[in-house]
Protein backbone atom coordinates (compact mmCIF):
# COMPACT_ATOMS: atom_id res chain seq x y z
CA UNK A 1 0.00 0.00 0.00
CA UNK A 2 1.39 3.40 -0.93
CA UNK A 3 1.98 5.73 1.98
CA UNK A 4 1.05 9.35 1.27
CA UNK A 5 4.18 11.42 0.77
CA UNK A 6 3.08 14.18 3.12
CA UNK A 7 2.52 11.58 5.83
CA UNK A 8 6.05 10.30 5.22
CA UNK A 9 7.36 13.84 5.63
CA UNK A 10 5.65 14.15 9.00
CA UNK A 11 6.86 10.71 10.02
CA UNK A 12 10.42 11.65 9.17
CA UNK A 13 10.27 14.57 11.55
CA UNK A 14 11.00 13.02 14.89
CA UNK A 15 9.77 15.29 17.64
CA UNK A 16 11.16 14.35 21.02
CA UNK A 17 10.02 15.68 24.33
CA UNK A 18 13.48 15.26 25.88
CA UNK A 19 17.01 14.08 25.14
CA UNK A 20 19.80 12.44 27.13
CA UNK A 21 23.46 13.27 26.49
CA UNK A 22 25.78 10.37 27.31
CA UNK A 23 29.33 11.67 27.29
CA UNK A 24 32.25 9.25 27.48
CA UNK A 25 35.52 10.75 28.75
CA UNK A 26 38.15 8.15 27.95
CA UNK A 27 41.72 7.73 29.16
CA UNK A 28 44.24 6.93 26.41
CA UNK A 29 47.41 7.37 28.52
CA UNK A 30 50.24 4.90 27.93
CA UNK A 31 49.30 2.77 30.96
CA UNK A 32 46.05 1.94 29.18
CA UNK A 33 48.06 -0.34 26.89
CA UNK A 34 49.02 -2.59 29.84
CA UNK A 35 47.58 -6.08 29.48
CA UNK A 36 46.05 -6.19 32.97
CA UNK A 37 42.99 -7.99 31.70
CA UNK A 38 41.55 -11.50 31.67
CA UNK A 39 42.68 -12.13 28.10
CA UNK A 40 45.99 -10.22 28.27
CA UNK A 41 44.92 -7.63 25.77
CA UNK A 42 45.48 -3.98 26.67
CA UNK A 43 43.02 -2.07 28.84
CA UNK A 44 42.56 0.42 25.98
CA UNK A 45 41.27 -2.36 23.71
CA UNK A 46 38.83 -3.46 26.37
CA UNK A 47 37.66 0.11 26.89
CA UNK A 48 37.08 0.50 23.14
CA UNK A 49 35.06 -2.72 23.06
CA UNK A 50 33.06 -1.65 26.09
CA UNK A 51 32.16 1.73 24.57
CA UNK A 52 31.28 0.08 21.26
CA UNK A 53 29.01 -2.42 23.01
CA UNK A 54 27.39 0.33 25.05
CA UNK A 55 26.75 2.48 21.99
CA UNK A 56 25.19 -0.52 20.25
CA UNK A 57 23.05 -1.32 23.30
CA UNK A 58 21.84 2.26 23.50
CA UNK A 59 20.78 2.02 19.87
CA UNK A 60 18.62 -1.01 20.75
CA UNK A 61 17.14 0.58 23.85
CA UNK A 62 13.48 1.50 23.84
CA UNK A 63 14.71 5.03 24.55
CA UNK A 64 17.14 4.98 21.60
CA UNK A 65 15.89 8.13 19.80
CA UNK A 66 16.50 10.33 22.83
CA UNK A 67 20.20 9.52 23.22
CA UNK A 68 22.98 11.79 22.01
CA UNK A 69 26.42 10.30 22.55
CA UNK A 70 29.76 12.15 22.66
CA UNK A 71 33.38 11.12 23.20
CA UNK A 72 36.36 12.92 24.73
CA UNK A 73 39.77 11.20 24.62
CA UNK A 74 42.59 12.36 26.86
CA UNK A 75 46.23 11.68 27.76
CA UNK A 76 48.80 14.50 27.39
CA UNK A 77 46.25 16.35 25.33
CA UNK A 78 42.52 16.20 24.78
CA UNK A 79 40.66 15.15 21.62
CA UNK A 80 36.93 15.82 21.33
CA UNK A 81 35.40 13.58 18.66
CA UNK A 82 33.77 15.87 16.12
CA UNK A 83 32.05 15.17 12.82
CA UNK A 84 30.25 17.57 10.52
CA UNK A 85 30.51 20.24 13.20
CA UNK A 86 28.74 18.05 15.78
CA UNK A 87 30.23 16.80 19.04
CA UNK A 88 27.40 14.44 20.01
CA UNK A 89 25.56 12.03 17.80
CA UNK A 90 22.29 10.04 17.66
CA UNK A 91 22.35 6.25 17.96
CA UNK A 92 19.39 5.52 15.65
CA UNK A 93 19.28 5.38 11.85
CA UNK A 94 22.66 3.77 11.23
CA UNK A 95 24.15 4.69 14.62
CA UNK A 96 26.29 7.73 13.64
CA UNK A 97 27.64 7.79 17.22
CA UNK A 98 29.24 4.39 16.73
CA UNK A 99 30.73 5.40 13.36
CA UNK A 100 32.18 8.62 14.79
CA UNK A 101 33.71 6.69 17.70
CA UNK A 102 35.25 4.04 15.42
CA UNK A 103 36.68 6.71 13.13
CA UNK A 104 38.39 8.31 16.15
CA UNK A 105 40.27 5.19 17.21
CA UNK A 106 43.35 5.44 15.01
CA UNK A 107 44.13 8.92 16.29
CA UNK A 108 43.62 7.95 19.90
CA UNK A 109 45.84 5.00 20.64
CA UNK A 110 47.55 4.92 24.06
CA UNK A 111 50.40 7.32 24.68
CA UNK A 112 51.47 9.93 27.22
CA UNK A 113 50.23 10.95 30.64
CA UNK A 114 46.87 11.91 32.21
CA UNK A 115 45.45 15.40 31.67
CA UNK A 116 42.22 14.64 33.51
CA UNK A 117 41.33 18.23 34.46
CA UNK A 118 41.71 19.33 30.83
CA UNK A 119 39.49 16.43 29.77
CA UNK A 120 36.75 17.45 32.21
CA UNK A 121 37.06 21.04 31.02
CA UNK A 122 36.56 19.88 27.43
CA UNK A 123 33.63 17.72 28.54
CA UNK A 124 32.15 20.86 30.13
CA UNK A 125 32.39 22.68 26.80
CA UNK A 126 30.55 19.85 25.04
CA UNK A 127 27.84 19.99 27.70
CA UNK A 128 27.53 23.76 27.23
CA UNK A 129 27.07 23.25 23.51
CA UNK A 130 24.37 20.68 24.24
CA UNK A 131 22.63 23.05 26.66
CA UNK A 132 22.63 25.80 24.04
CA UNK A 133 21.46 23.50 21.21
CA UNK A 134 18.18 25.08 20.09
CA UNK A 135 17.32 22.16 17.82
CA UNK A 136 16.68 19.99 20.86
CA UNK A 137 13.78 20.36 23.28
CA UNK A 138 14.52 22.14 26.54
CA UNK A 139 14.18 19.00 28.64
CA UNK A 140 17.76 17.70 28.70
CA UNK A 141 19.62 15.18 30.83
CA UNK A 142 23.35 14.62 30.93
CA UNK A 143 25.46 11.74 32.23
CA UNK A 144 29.24 11.90 31.95
CA UNK A 145 31.20 8.66 32.29
CA UNK A 146 34.89 9.18 33.10
CA UNK A 147 37.06 6.09 32.63
CA UNK A 148 40.68 6.31 33.80
CA UNK A 149 43.47 4.23 35.29
CA UNK A 150 45.66 7.18 36.28
CA UNK A 151 46.22 10.29 38.33
CA UNK A 152 46.24 13.88 37.10
CA UNK A 153 49.72 14.60 35.74
CA UNK A 154 49.41 17.91 33.93
CA UNK A 155 47.61 20.06 36.48
CA UNK A 156 46.66 19.22 40.09
CA UNK A 157 44.03 17.02 41.74
CA UNK A 158 42.45 20.29 42.98
CA UNK A 159 42.01 21.33 39.36
CA UNK A 160 40.24 18.03 38.70
CA UNK A 161 37.92 18.77 41.62
CA UNK A 162 37.33 22.28 40.34
CA UNK A 163 36.47 21.17 36.79
CA UNK A 164 34.17 18.45 38.11
CA UNK A 165 32.58 20.95 40.46
CA UNK A 166 31.84 23.19 37.49
CA UNK A 167 30.01 20.31 35.78
CA UNK A 168 28.16 19.26 38.94
CA UNK A 169 27.12 22.81 39.92
CA UNK A 170 27.57 25.64 37.41
CA UNK A 171 26.49 23.60 34.39
CA UNK A 172 23.70 21.93 36.35
CA UNK A 173 22.29 25.36 37.19
CA UNK A 174 22.55 26.43 33.57
CA UNK A 175 20.81 23.24 32.49
CA UNK A 176 18.04 23.67 35.04
CA UNK A 177 17.49 27.26 33.98
CA UNK A 178 16.16 25.75 30.73
CA UNK A 179 13.86 23.33 32.51
CA UNK A 180 13.73 22.54 36.23
CA UNK A 181 13.45 18.79 35.48
CA UNK A 182 16.87 18.73 33.84
CA UNK A 183 19.65 16.82 35.56
CA UNK A 184 23.34 16.17 35.25
CA UNK A 185 25.40 13.30 36.63
CA UNK A 186 29.11 12.49 36.65
CA UNK A 187 30.02 8.83 36.99
CA UNK A 188 33.62 7.69 37.42
CA UNK A 189 35.15 4.30 36.77
CA UNK A 190 38.66 3.41 38.00
CA UNK A 191 40.33 1.08 35.54
CA UNK A 192 43.21 0.15 37.86
CA UNK A 193 44.52 0.42 41.39
CA UNK A 194 46.91 3.20 40.30
CA UNK A 195 44.00 5.49 39.51
CA UNK A 196 43.41 8.42 41.86
CA UNK A 197 40.48 6.59 43.36
CA UNK A 198 39.99 9.09 46.14
CA UNK A 199 39.53 11.96 43.70
CA UNK A 200 37.38 9.83 41.39
CA UNK A 201 35.05 9.04 44.28
CA UNK A 202 35.05 12.67 45.41
CA UNK A 203 33.99 14.04 42.02
CA UNK A 204 31.32 11.43 41.31
CA UNK A 205 27.70 12.54 41.69
CA UNK A 206 25.44 11.04 44.32
CA UNK A 207 23.05 8.37 43.09
CA UNK A 208 19.42 9.37 43.23
CA UNK A 209 17.06 7.06 45.15
CA UNK A 210 15.41 5.84 41.96
CA UNK A 211 18.77 4.99 40.40
CA UNK A 212 19.95 3.20 43.51
CA UNK A 213 16.72 1.15 43.46
CA UNK A 214 17.22 0.18 39.82
CA UNK A 215 20.87 -0.78 40.44
CA UNK A 216 19.81 -2.78 43.47
CA UNK A 217 17.11 -4.59 41.52
CA UNK A 218 19.61 -5.41 38.79
CA UNK A 219 22.04 -6.82 41.37
CA UNK A 220 24.61 -4.13 40.58
CA UNK A 221 24.67 -2.09 43.76
CA UNK A 222 27.40 -4.18 45.37
CA UNK A 223 29.99 -3.01 42.82
CA UNK A 224 28.96 0.65 43.05
CA UNK A 225 30.87 2.76 45.58
CA UNK A 226 31.42 0.06 48.21
CA UNK A 227 30.81 0.05 51.13
CA UNK A 228 28.61 3.16 51.05
CA UNK A 229 26.77 2.67 47.73
CA UNK A 230 26.11 6.41 47.60
CA UNK A 231 27.98 7.72 44.59
CA UNK A 232 28.24 6.99 40.87
CA UNK A 233 31.69 5.49 41.34
CA UNK A 234 33.07 2.08 40.42
CA UNK A 235 36.32 1.18 42.08
CA UNK A 236 39.14 -0.66 40.35
CA UNK A 237 38.85 -4.43 39.93
CA UNK A 238 40.40 -6.49 42.71
CA UNK A 239 43.96 -7.67 41.99
CA UNK A 240 44.24 -4.79 39.51
CA UNK A 241 43.11 -7.01 36.66
CA UNK A 242 39.97 -6.48 34.60
CA UNK A 243 37.87 -9.62 34.74
CA UNK A 244 35.03 -10.58 32.45
CA UNK A 245 32.54 -10.25 35.32
CA UNK A 246 33.81 -6.78 36.29
CA UNK A 247 33.67 -5.62 32.69
CA UNK A 248 30.12 -6.95 32.29
CA UNK A 249 29.03 -5.27 35.53
CA UNK A 250 30.50 -1.93 34.35
CA UNK A 251 28.67 -2.27 31.04
CA UNK A 252 25.38 -2.85 32.82
CA UNK A 253 26.09 0.00 35.25
CA UNK A 254 26.65 2.48 32.39
CA UNK A 255 23.60 1.21 30.56
CA UNK A 256 21.36 1.53 33.59
CA UNK A 257 22.66 4.98 34.52
CA UNK A 258 22.13 6.18 30.93
CA UNK A 259 18.57 4.92 30.91
CA UNK A 260 17.80 6.26 34.38
CA UNK A 261 19.20 9.73 33.75
CA UNK A 262 15.59 10.93 33.62
CA UNK A 263 14.45 9.25 36.87
Amino acid sequence: MAIPSSMLRVLKRRPLSYTVLVLFVLDRSLSMSEPKTYDHRGKWEHLVELVEKLTQRLSRSSMAPVFRVGFVWFSDDVYVVEKDGKKYFPVVEGNPALSAFRESLNKNRPYGMTAMADALQAAGRVIEEYIEDKELPSEKYVTVFLFTDGKETKRTPEDVLEEADRINNELREKLQALNPRNRIGLATIALGLDADRETLRAIASFLRDAQRKVLEERGLLNIVDPPYHEKMFIDAPQNDRITKEWEEAVRRFVERLSETAVY
Partner: protein, 347 residues
Amino acid sequence: MKLSLVFYDRGVVETDTDKWEMIDSGGEADIYEARIAGKKYVVKVFTQKQTELAKPVERVAEMLSRLVRLRHRCGGLPQSLLGRGFPVAVGAYRDSAVLVFRYIEDFRTLADIANSFEELRAYLAENNLSTRISMARDVLKALACLDLADVVHVDVTTANTAYGVIDGSKWVYLFDLETAAIMGSEDYALAVIPARDAHYMPVDSLSLAGIELKAPEPSELPLPLIPSRLPREYLSWVLWTPIWYGFQLASFTFTGMGPFQGLPAATMDYWLEIVEHEKERGYEPTWPPKAMHELGVLEANEYRELNNIWTSLGEDIVKGMYQVFVIDVAEKRRVPSVSLPSVIGIR
Protein backbone atom coordinates in the same frame (compact mmCIF):
# COMPACT_ATOMS: atom_id res chain seq x y z
CA MET B 1 15.89 -29.68 36.12
CA LYS B 2 12.37 -31.04 35.68
CA LEU B 3 9.63 -28.50 36.20
CA SER B 4 5.88 -28.95 36.29
CA LEU B 5 3.78 -26.30 34.63
CA VAL B 6 0.02 -26.03 34.91
CA PHE B 7 -1.56 -25.26 31.53
CA TYR B 8 -5.08 -23.84 31.55
CA ASP B 9 -6.15 -26.11 28.70
CA ARG B 10 -4.25 -29.35 29.18
CA GLY B 11 -3.37 -29.76 32.83
CA VAL B 12 0.08 -30.41 34.20
CA VAL B 13 2.98 -30.74 31.76
CA GLU B 14 6.50 -31.60 32.81
CA THR B 15 9.37 -29.75 31.13
CA ASP B 16 13.16 -29.83 31.28
CA THR B 17 14.58 -26.39 32.10
CA ASP B 18 18.05 -27.40 30.84
CA LYS B 19 16.65 -27.15 27.32
CA TRP B 20 15.38 -23.61 27.76
CA GLU B 21 17.28 -20.87 25.99
CA MET B 22 17.71 -17.55 27.75
CA ILE B 23 16.85 -14.62 25.49
CA ASP B 24 16.87 -11.72 27.92
CA SER B 25 17.63 -10.96 31.51
CA GLY B 26 16.49 -8.02 33.56
CA GLY B 27 16.11 -7.06 37.18
CA GLU B 28 12.58 -8.38 37.46
CA ALA B 29 12.79 -11.59 35.48
CA ASP B 30 14.73 -13.78 33.08
CA ILE B 31 13.08 -14.55 29.76
CA TYR B 32 13.52 -17.91 28.03
CA GLU B 33 12.40 -19.58 24.84
CA ALA B 34 11.25 -23.11 25.51
CA ARG B 35 9.79 -26.02 23.58
CA ILE B 36 7.13 -27.64 25.74
CA ALA B 37 5.19 -30.68 24.52
CA GLY B 38 6.38 -29.93 20.98
CA LYS B 39 5.31 -26.28 20.97
CA LYS B 40 7.38 -23.13 21.33
CA TYR B 41 6.66 -20.78 24.25
CA VAL B 42 8.14 -17.77 25.99
CA VAL B 43 8.79 -18.36 29.68
CA LYS B 44 9.24 -15.60 32.21
CA VAL B 45 10.97 -16.57 35.44
CA PHE B 46 10.68 -13.82 38.02
CA THR B 47 13.40 -13.05 40.51
CA GLN B 48 12.65 -14.22 44.00
CA LYS B 49 12.37 -10.62 45.16
CA GLN B 50 9.91 -9.72 42.40
CA THR B 51 7.92 -12.87 43.14
CA GLU B 52 7.49 -11.76 46.74
CA LEU B 53 6.96 -8.10 45.94
CA ALA B 54 4.59 -8.28 42.98
CA LYS B 55 2.99 -11.76 43.31
CA PRO B 56 2.85 -12.08 39.51
CA VAL B 57 1.00 -15.40 39.34
CA GLU B 58 -1.72 -14.36 41.77
CA ARG B 59 -1.87 -10.91 40.17
CA VAL B 60 -2.53 -12.17 36.63
CA ALA B 61 -4.99 -14.74 37.97
CA GLU B 62 -6.92 -11.98 39.74
CA MET B 63 -6.86 -9.79 36.61
CA LEU B 64 -7.98 -12.63 34.39
CA SER B 65 -10.86 -13.59 36.68
CA ARG B 66 -12.02 -9.96 36.77
CA LEU B 67 -11.82 -9.71 32.99
CA VAL B 68 -13.58 -12.99 32.42
CA ARG B 69 -16.40 -11.79 34.71
CA LEU B 70 -16.97 -8.77 32.51
CA ARG B 71 -16.17 -10.45 29.20
CA HIS B 72 -19.70 -9.86 27.92
CA ARG B 73 -19.30 -6.13 28.54
CA CYS B 74 -16.04 -6.15 26.60
CA GLY B 75 -17.57 -8.25 23.85
CA GLY B 76 -14.97 -10.98 24.35
CA LEU B 77 -11.39 -10.48 25.42
CA PRO B 78 -9.46 -8.30 22.99
CA GLN B 79 -6.86 -10.18 20.98
CA SER B 80 -4.12 -7.74 21.99
CA LEU B 81 -4.41 -8.94 25.61
CA LEU B 82 -4.00 -12.59 24.76
CA GLY B 83 -0.66 -13.07 23.01
CA ARG B 84 1.70 -11.87 25.70
CA GLY B 85 -0.73 -10.32 28.16
CA PHE B 86 -2.02 -13.40 29.94
CA PRO B 87 -0.07 -16.61 30.43
CA VAL B 88 -1.20 -20.00 29.15
CA ALA B 89 0.55 -21.78 32.02
CA VAL B 90 2.03 -21.02 35.42
CA GLY B 91 4.50 -22.73 37.68
CA ALA B 92 7.25 -22.23 40.21
CA TYR B 93 10.99 -22.55 39.69
CA ARG B 94 12.49 -22.98 43.15
CA ASP B 95 11.05 -19.92 44.95
CA SER B 96 10.37 -17.94 41.80
CA ALA B 97 7.11 -17.52 39.94
CA VAL B 98 7.01 -18.76 36.34
CA LEU B 99 4.63 -17.52 33.65
CA VAL B 100 4.39 -19.18 30.23
CA PHE B 101 3.21 -17.18 27.22
CA ARG B 102 2.43 -18.07 23.64
CA TYR B 103 5.37 -17.63 21.31
CA ILE B 104 5.15 -14.70 18.91
CA GLU B 105 6.87 -15.31 15.58
CA ASP B 106 8.74 -12.42 13.99
CA PHE B 107 8.58 -10.58 17.33
CA ARG B 108 9.37 -6.87 17.36
CA THR B 109 8.26 -4.19 19.74
CA LEU B 110 6.47 -1.10 18.50
CA ALA B 111 9.45 0.85 19.86
CA ASP B 112 11.80 -1.16 17.56
CA ILE B 113 9.55 -0.25 14.66
CA ALA B 114 9.25 3.41 15.56
CA ASN B 115 13.03 3.69 16.07
CA SER B 116 13.79 2.80 12.46
CA PHE B 117 12.27 4.64 9.56
CA GLU B 118 12.66 1.61 7.29
CA GLU B 119 10.90 -0.68 9.78
CA LEU B 120 8.17 1.88 10.20
CA ARG B 121 7.67 2.16 6.48
CA ALA B 122 7.46 -1.63 6.20
CA TYR B 123 4.95 -1.80 9.08
CA LEU B 124 2.72 0.78 7.38
CA ALA B 125 3.06 -0.95 4.04
CA GLU B 126 2.30 -4.47 5.26
CA ASN B 127 -0.75 -3.44 7.28
CA ASN B 128 -3.40 -1.68 5.27
CA LEU B 129 -5.52 1.08 6.74
CA SER B 130 -8.35 -1.18 7.84
CA THR B 131 -5.96 -3.59 9.61
CA ARG B 132 -4.29 -0.72 11.44
CA ILE B 133 -7.70 0.68 12.41
CA SER B 134 -8.66 -2.73 13.82
CA MET B 135 -5.39 -3.09 15.73
CA ALA B 136 -5.53 0.44 17.18
CA ARG B 137 -9.14 0.02 18.25
CA ASP B 138 -8.34 -3.39 19.74
CA VAL B 139 -5.51 -1.86 21.80
CA LEU B 140 -7.88 0.81 23.12
CA LYS B 141 -10.52 -1.81 23.82
CA ALA B 142 -7.96 -3.86 25.75
CA LEU B 143 -7.07 -0.86 27.89
CA ALA B 144 -10.75 -0.03 28.33
CA CYS B 145 -11.45 -3.59 29.53
CA LEU B 146 -8.59 -3.33 32.02
CA ASP B 147 -10.05 -0.02 33.21
CA LEU B 148 -13.48 -1.63 33.70
CA ALA B 149 -11.82 -4.36 35.74
CA ASP B 150 -10.08 -1.73 37.91
CA VAL B 151 -6.72 -2.87 36.57
CA VAL B 152 -4.35 0.07 36.26
CA HIS B 153 -1.68 -0.62 33.65
CA VAL B 154 0.65 2.36 33.91
CA ASP B 155 3.38 0.89 31.72
CA VAL B 156 1.53 1.21 28.41
CA THR B 157 4.56 1.96 26.24
CA THR B 158 5.69 1.16 22.71
CA ALA B 159 8.46 -0.94 24.29
CA ASN B 160 5.82 -3.06 26.06
CA THR B 161 3.86 -3.73 22.90
CA ALA B 162 4.78 -6.61 20.62
CA TYR B 163 4.05 -6.89 16.94
CA GLY B 164 4.25 -10.35 15.44
CA VAL B 165 2.50 -13.51 14.33
CA ILE B 166 0.44 -15.96 16.35
CA ASP B 167 -1.46 -18.74 14.57
CA GLY B 168 -0.53 -17.25 11.23
CA SER B 169 -1.96 -13.80 11.80
CA LYS B 170 -0.11 -10.60 12.57
CA TRP B 171 -1.29 -8.46 15.43
CA VAL B 172 -0.14 -6.18 18.22
CA TYR B 173 0.04 -7.59 21.74
CA LEU B 174 0.38 -5.76 25.04
CA PHE B 175 2.78 -7.32 27.51
CA ASP B 176 4.15 -6.89 31.04
CA LEU B 177 0.57 -6.90 32.31
CA GLU B 178 1.70 -8.71 35.43
CA THR B 179 3.05 -5.43 36.71
CA ALA B 180 -0.36 -3.74 36.50
CA ALA B 181 -1.90 -2.71 39.82
CA ILE B 182 -5.43 -3.33 40.95
CA MET B 183 -7.35 -0.31 42.16
CA GLY B 184 -8.61 -0.67 45.70
CA SER B 185 -6.47 -3.72 46.47
CA GLU B 186 -3.85 -3.86 49.20
CA ASP B 187 -2.53 -7.14 47.77
CA TYR B 188 -1.82 -6.01 44.22
CA ALA B 189 -0.25 -2.65 44.74
CA LEU B 190 1.49 -0.44 42.19
CA ALA B 191 4.94 -2.00 41.83
CA VAL B 192 6.43 -0.11 38.85
CA ILE B 193 6.83 3.43 37.65
CA PRO B 194 6.69 3.38 33.85
CA ALA B 195 9.91 3.83 31.95
CA ARG B 196 9.99 7.02 29.87
CA ASP B 197 8.99 6.24 26.31
CA ALA B 198 11.10 8.08 23.76
CA HIS B 199 8.07 8.45 21.50
CA TYR B 200 5.60 9.75 24.04
CA MET B 201 4.93 13.09 25.58
CA PRO B 202 5.29 12.01 29.21
CA VAL B 203 2.29 12.19 31.50
CA ASP B 204 4.43 14.06 34.03
CA SER B 205 4.62 17.00 31.65
CA LEU B 206 0.97 17.70 32.49
CA SER B 207 2.30 19.30 35.66
CA LEU B 208 3.88 21.95 33.41
CA ALA B 209 0.37 22.65 32.13
CA GLY B 210 -0.70 23.46 35.68
CA ILE B 211 -2.30 20.11 36.51
CA GLU B 212 -1.39 19.02 40.02
CA LEU B 213 -0.01 15.60 39.29
CA LYS B 214 3.07 13.75 40.45
CA ALA B 215 4.46 10.26 39.98
CA PRO B 216 5.05 8.39 43.23
CA GLU B 217 8.68 8.09 44.27
CA PRO B 218 10.16 4.67 43.48
CA SER B 219 11.11 4.40 47.15
CA GLU B 220 7.36 4.46 47.99
CA LEU B 221 6.65 1.33 45.96
CA PRO B 222 4.81 -0.95 46.32
CA LEU B 223 1.99 1.57 46.71
CA PRO B 224 -1.55 0.25 47.24
CA LEU B 225 -3.98 2.19 45.05
CA ILE B 226 -6.54 2.97 47.72
CA PRO B 227 -8.09 6.25 46.53
CA SER B 228 -9.05 7.51 49.99
CA ARG B 229 -5.46 7.11 51.18
CA LEU B 230 -3.54 8.26 48.12
CA PRO B 231 -2.19 11.82 48.07
CA ARG B 232 -4.28 13.76 45.53
CA GLU B 233 -1.43 14.42 43.13
CA TYR B 234 -0.64 10.68 43.01
CA LEU B 235 -4.27 9.84 42.40
CA SER B 236 -4.30 12.31 39.50
CA TRP B 237 -1.20 10.65 38.09
CA VAL B 238 -2.77 7.18 38.42
CA LEU B 239 -5.96 8.28 36.68
CA TRP B 240 -4.27 10.27 33.91
CA THR B 241 -1.57 7.74 33.04
CA PRO B 242 -3.44 4.87 31.30
CA ILE B 243 -5.56 7.16 29.11
CA TRP B 244 -2.74 9.63 28.32
CA TYR B 245 -0.44 6.78 27.29
CA GLY B 246 -3.27 4.63 25.89
CA PHE B 247 -4.18 7.16 23.19
CA GLN B 248 -0.51 7.63 22.35
CA LEU B 249 -0.07 3.86 21.98
CA ALA B 250 -3.19 3.61 19.81
CA SER B 251 -1.80 6.43 17.71
CA PHE B 252 1.48 4.55 17.14
CA THR B 253 -0.37 1.34 16.33
CA PHE B 254 -2.54 3.17 13.83
CA THR B 255 -0.16 5.53 12.04
CA GLY B 256 3.30 4.70 13.35
CA MET B 257 3.54 8.17 14.81
CA GLY B 258 2.53 9.95 17.96
CA PRO B 259 -0.43 12.28 18.24
CA PHE B 260 1.92 15.22 18.77
CA GLN B 261 4.06 14.45 15.73
CA GLY B 262 4.58 17.44 13.50
CA LEU B 263 5.47 19.71 16.39
CA PRO B 264 9.11 20.84 16.26
CA ALA B 265 9.64 19.29 19.68
CA ALA B 266 6.86 17.46 21.43
CA THR B 267 6.99 19.26 24.74
CA MET B 268 4.20 20.68 26.85
CA ASP B 269 5.43 24.21 26.04
CA TYR B 270 4.70 23.70 22.35
CA TRP B 271 1.54 21.81 23.07
CA LEU B 272 0.13 24.56 25.31
CA GLU B 273 0.34 26.98 22.38
CA ILE B 274 -1.87 24.62 20.40
CA VAL B 275 -4.24 24.12 23.31
CA GLU B 276 -4.62 27.86 23.97
CA HIS B 277 -5.23 28.54 20.29
CA GLU B 278 -7.91 25.83 20.13
CA LYS B 279 -9.53 27.17 23.29
CA GLU B 280 -9.69 30.73 21.94
CA ARG B 281 -11.26 29.66 18.66
CA GLY B 282 -13.57 27.02 20.14
CA TYR B 283 -13.10 24.58 17.25
CA GLU B 284 -14.96 21.32 16.77
CA PRO B 285 -13.06 18.24 17.97
CA THR B 286 -10.75 17.03 15.22
CA TRP B 287 -7.34 15.44 14.89
CA PRO B 288 -4.79 16.85 14.44
CA PRO B 289 -6.22 20.02 16.05
CA LYS B 290 -6.70 22.83 13.51
CA ALA B 291 -4.24 24.98 15.43
CA MET B 292 -1.41 22.70 14.31
CA HIS B 293 -1.99 23.96 10.80
CA GLU B 294 -2.85 27.55 11.72
CA LEU B 295 0.24 27.96 13.86
CA GLY B 296 2.36 26.64 11.04
CA VAL B 297 3.60 23.34 12.50
CA LEU B 298 1.87 21.35 9.79
CA GLU B 299 1.63 22.38 6.15
CA ALA B 300 -1.87 22.54 4.65
CA ASN B 301 -1.48 19.31 2.66
CA GLU B 302 0.05 17.48 5.64
CA TYR B 303 -2.79 18.65 7.83
CA ARG B 304 -5.46 17.55 5.33
CA GLU B 305 -3.79 14.18 4.84
CA LEU B 306 -3.47 13.48 8.53
CA ASN B 307 -6.98 14.72 9.20
CA ASN B 308 -8.37 12.30 6.61
CA ILE B 309 -6.41 9.43 8.09
CA TRP B 310 -7.41 10.16 11.67
CA THR B 311 -11.05 10.59 10.74
CA SER B 312 -10.96 7.06 9.36
CA LEU B 313 -10.07 5.73 12.81
CA GLY B 314 -13.51 6.76 14.03
CA GLU B 315 -15.23 9.87 15.28
CA ASP B 316 -15.49 8.41 18.79
CA ILE B 317 -11.73 8.07 19.17
CA VAL B 318 -10.94 11.43 17.57
CA LYS B 319 -13.39 13.08 19.99
CA GLY B 320 -11.86 11.22 22.93
CA MET B 321 -8.33 12.24 21.98
CA TYR B 322 -9.37 15.84 21.53
CA GLN B 323 -11.12 15.85 24.89
CA VAL B 324 -8.14 14.37 26.74
CA PHE B 325 -5.25 16.05 24.94
CA VAL B 326 -6.82 19.47 24.32
CA ILE B 327 -9.94 20.29 26.39
CA ASP B 328 -8.88 18.63 29.64
CA VAL B 329 -5.42 20.18 29.40
CA ALA B 330 -6.93 23.61 28.69
CA GLU B 331 -9.25 23.22 31.66
CA LYS B 332 -6.40 21.89 33.83
CA ARG B 333 -8.51 18.98 34.99
CA ARG B 334 -7.19 16.97 37.91
CA VAL B 335 -8.50 13.83 36.25
CA PRO B 336 -9.52 13.19 32.64
CA SER B 337 -13.17 13.99 31.95
CA VAL B 338 -13.69 10.83 29.90
CA SER B 339 -12.68 7.21 30.42
CA LEU B 340 -11.50 4.73 27.80
CA PRO B 341 -14.60 2.51 28.28
CA SER B 342 -16.83 5.54 27.61
CA VAL B 343 -14.82 6.51 24.52
CA ILE B 344 -15.01 2.96 23.15
CA GLY B 345 -18.68 2.70 24.09
CA ILE B 346 -18.51 -0.26 26.45
CA ARG B 347 -19.79 1.47 29.54
